[in-house]
């Protein structure tokens, strides 16, 4: 599967639209079982890790306030970051869009003469389609995160921010390793079993050979401190440390919203991120570096600051808060829609609730108009978000924009614009949504044929006139949510 570039250069599989993709995913029982297990496990761990801190709400409030303040003065902090990184021996580049970022990275790699580079999992480089651009330029980009390696060997797409290969089970991974590793480097050992430890060992051996001779690595960044120029990468496996330490040249591609005012602000985010993300008190490895250090690590450090739709997002006073996101994936794990459809249905590198609010803003809402509807507005994402992004508020706001854009441009049949308006009217009111869904759940099962329904009763009728809608599960999302929330939530 290859990605199509959206209008502004965000890799985005614009088609099929969310409802169609969701229908396909819902039919896949194993994906659903894997996802349910993943989201439940991580959700429980997160609740334990955040529940341990009696000032969790104060930390969230600080995280939100720091992010909001930084965005409101973004030009100032970006200029400070540039000064600090430069003073510490790094070089800062600016990229307005994906094409420019890809060109900058490609030229930097060409200048080193390397034809193979290593990568650390990074959403920004997925967003701009860097690997594909490098392949066109004759450079092989090897993913070093285990899940990304699985995805890359399978010529696949990530389905979850945190565990991108969650849609694959161990037997498939074994087969992939056995069949594909040899094409990229050291083959998998003979007689490889499907034990996770054996698979991890195969990845260790395969990648170690690459780490030892790496000349160039490309990373993303979790945070960058404007006052000191310090850049942070948070990880678990150690592939990040390898890539940040061993090559001569390090290229970091970072969205401009990742800047923090001060090094000391890490005291908030290094508590919020690991506990929200993997539900650990601290992730195994966090690397912080400031420019270059003689005799230790890369001798050349390049920081590419990426806009690619972010300044447009900034211009929307309601939508702006989506740029607070620290990519912890907590909102995915609590989302009843995500749990049932998986990440691929969102057609974007940013899945789940954050994808539903970020992707339409990055690519332009007219190009991703179904995504803001990929939610029940239950609010669980807002409660979980460590930087307090009010996702339901942004969703509702974007829904209105999507409907306007459709009506204004007449790109699609008026019928669909009308259907969306109908859906908006229902979905903006949680109480009405609950009623409508219970009605749909009862009616839908009566009407469904082989798990597919042609026409929904009540308020959903308009929607199902233009979209073949999946049969609602026996319990509606909200009924399911209420039942499950009673069990584990605060």
């Amino acid at each position: 599967m290859t990605g199509a570039m959206g209008a502004r250069g965000v890799v985005f599989l614009g088609s099929p639209a969310f409802p169609d993709a969701a229908r396909t995913a819902l039919a896949d029982d194993r994906l659903r079982a894997n996802l349910r297990r993943a989201t439940t496990t991580i959700r429980d761990k997160r609740l334990a890790a955040t529940g341990e801190l009696d000032d969790w709400e104060e930390l969230r409030a600080a995280g939100e306030a720091i992010k909001r303040h930084t965005l409101r003065h973004l030009p100032y902090y970006l200029e400070r970051l540039e000064e600090s990184v430069t003073a510490a021996g790094g070089t800062v580049h600016w990229a307005a869009d994906a094409a420019e970022a890809n060109r900058i990275v490609t030229e930097l790699i060409r200048a080193t003469g390397a034809t193979e580079i290593l990568k650390i999992k990074s959403m920004a480089t997925q967003e701009i389609g860097l690997n594909e651009a490098l392949a066109d330029a004759g450079v092989t980009a090897c993913e070093t995160d285990l899940a990304e390696l699985i995805v890359q060997l399978g010529e696949d797409r990530p389905s979850h921010i945190l565990v991108p290969a969650i849609h694959r089970n161990r037997g498939e991974i074994r087969d992939l390793f056995a069949a594909e590793m040899g094409h990229w480097g050291r083959p998998a050992p003979e007689g490889l079993t499907d034990e996770p430890a054996a698979l991890a060992e195969a990845a260790r051996l395969h990648l170690r050979e690459k780490f030892l001779r790496a000349e160039v690595a490309v990373s993303g960044a979790n945070f960058a401190c404007a006052d000191t120029g310090t850049v942070a990468v948070v990880e678990s496996e150690g592939n990040g440390r390898m890539c940040l330490t061993l090559p001569e040249t390090l290229i970091t591609v970072m969205g401009i919203e990742k800047v923090l005012p001060a090094f000391t602000d890490l005291e908030v985010f290094l508590q919020l991120l690991p506990r929200s993300s993997t539900g650990e008190r601290m992730n195994p490895y966090t690397s912080l570096w400031t420019g270059t250090t003689p005799g230790d690590g890369p001798s050349a450090f390049h920081l590419v600051l990426l806009d690619n739709g972010r300044t447009d997002t900034l211009a929307d006073e309601v939508g702006r808060q989506a740029l607070h996101c620290i990519r912890c994936s907590a909102c995915l794990n609590v989302c009843p829609v995500y749990e049932r459809t998986g990440g691929h249905a969102y057609g974007s590198v940013y899945p789940g609730p954050i994808g539903a609010v970020l992707t339409p803003q990055l690519v332009g809402v007219e190009h991703a108009s179904s995504l803001p509807f990929a939610s029940t507005l239950c609010g669980a994402c807002y409660d979980a978000c460590p930087v307090r992004i009010n996702i339901p508020e942004v969703l509702t706001h974007l829904r209105a924009k999507a409907v306007e854009a459709k009506a204004g441009h007449r790109r699609l049949p008026t019928l669909e614009a009308l259907a969306m308006k109908g859906a908006t009217a229902v979905l903006v009111s949680p109480a009405r949504l609950g009623l409508a869904q219970r009605a749909a759940s009862l009616g839908g099962r009566l009407l469904s044929r082989r798990g597919r329904i042609g026409r929904l009763p009540g308020p959903f009728r308009g929607w199902s006139d233009t979209r073949d809608t999946p049969a609602p599960p026996a319990e509606s999302f909200r009924a399911w949510w209420r039942a499950n929330r009673a069990g584990g939530q605060r």
């Binding site: 306030a65 565990v163 310090t230 000391t264 993997t278 195994p284 250090t293």
Partner: protein, 214 residues
């Protein structure tokens, strides 16, 4: 116009709603969160939290450092290790142990082959069970504590900070910093946790208490 100016210009235009009187660096950030969540003695808490990550923890009085290091290495069947400059000689075991240096700098392949490293640390964090390396004395450049498959880290009790904010305040951001919380791990295959992927697969931690405390 350069791309830099384009992006900064777009960002300024996007922020027309921010009143000019609102200044950067003067934000009223609510910092009502705790400096530390530690509620028991730090040595005890740090030891418990490191052990949670399935690293081993040994608490020993400082005068028994060499004996403790020697015993841990012997338990693993190791007779040699990379020892960065500045690691106290008094903490090294005698007998058959071979101390390997890093001058001139060893290649990644050599470090990979040696398989063991001893180090000190810059700071430790009790609540999160984290050791922080800053490439200072006794730690060496980052590759030394990354490539060998076994890492033995010696922490002096007074280096243990309560929690993340206290630790951040003690660190020098101009140095390369690595936070280590247990051995490397992945949960990428069906969420089964596997310890040890690319970093050292075994982490042993010794906490040295001053002789009076012990």
């Amino acid at each position: 116009m350069s791309t830099r100016d384009t992006i900064l210009g777009r960002a300024r235009a996007a922020l027309g709603d921010v009143p000019p009187a609102e200044r950067p660096e003067e934000a009223p950030i609510p910092r009502g969160y705790r400096r530390s969540h530690a509620d028991v003695p730090l040595v005890e808490l740090f030891a418990e939290r490191v052990a949670d990550y399935r690293a081993t923890v040994t608490v020993a009085p400082e005068h028994q450092a060499a004996r403790t290091v020697g015993r841990l290495l012997a338990d693993r069947g190791l007779t040699r290790a990379v020892v960065p400059d500045g690691f106290p000689d008094a903490w090294l075991p005698g007998g058959t142990f071979t101390r390997l240096g890093d001058a001139p700098p060893r290649t990644p392949a050599e470090l990979d082959g040696i398989g063991a490293v001893l180090s000190t640390c810059a700071v430790a964090i009790a609540v999160t069970g984290t050791i922080v390396l800053d490439a200072g004395p006794g730690q060496g450049r980052r590759a030394l504590t990354l490539l060998p498959d076994y890492h033995l880290c010696v922490v002096r009790a007074e280096q243990i900070a309560g929690d993340v904010p206290e630790a951040i305040a003690l660190l020098d951001p101009t140095r390369p910093l690595t936070f280590v919380s247990g051995p490397s791990a992945t949960s990428d295959i069906e969420l089964d946790r596997v310890e040890g992927v690319h970093g050292p697969r075994t982490l042993d931690v010794i906490i040295l208490t001053s002789t009076e405390e012990a």
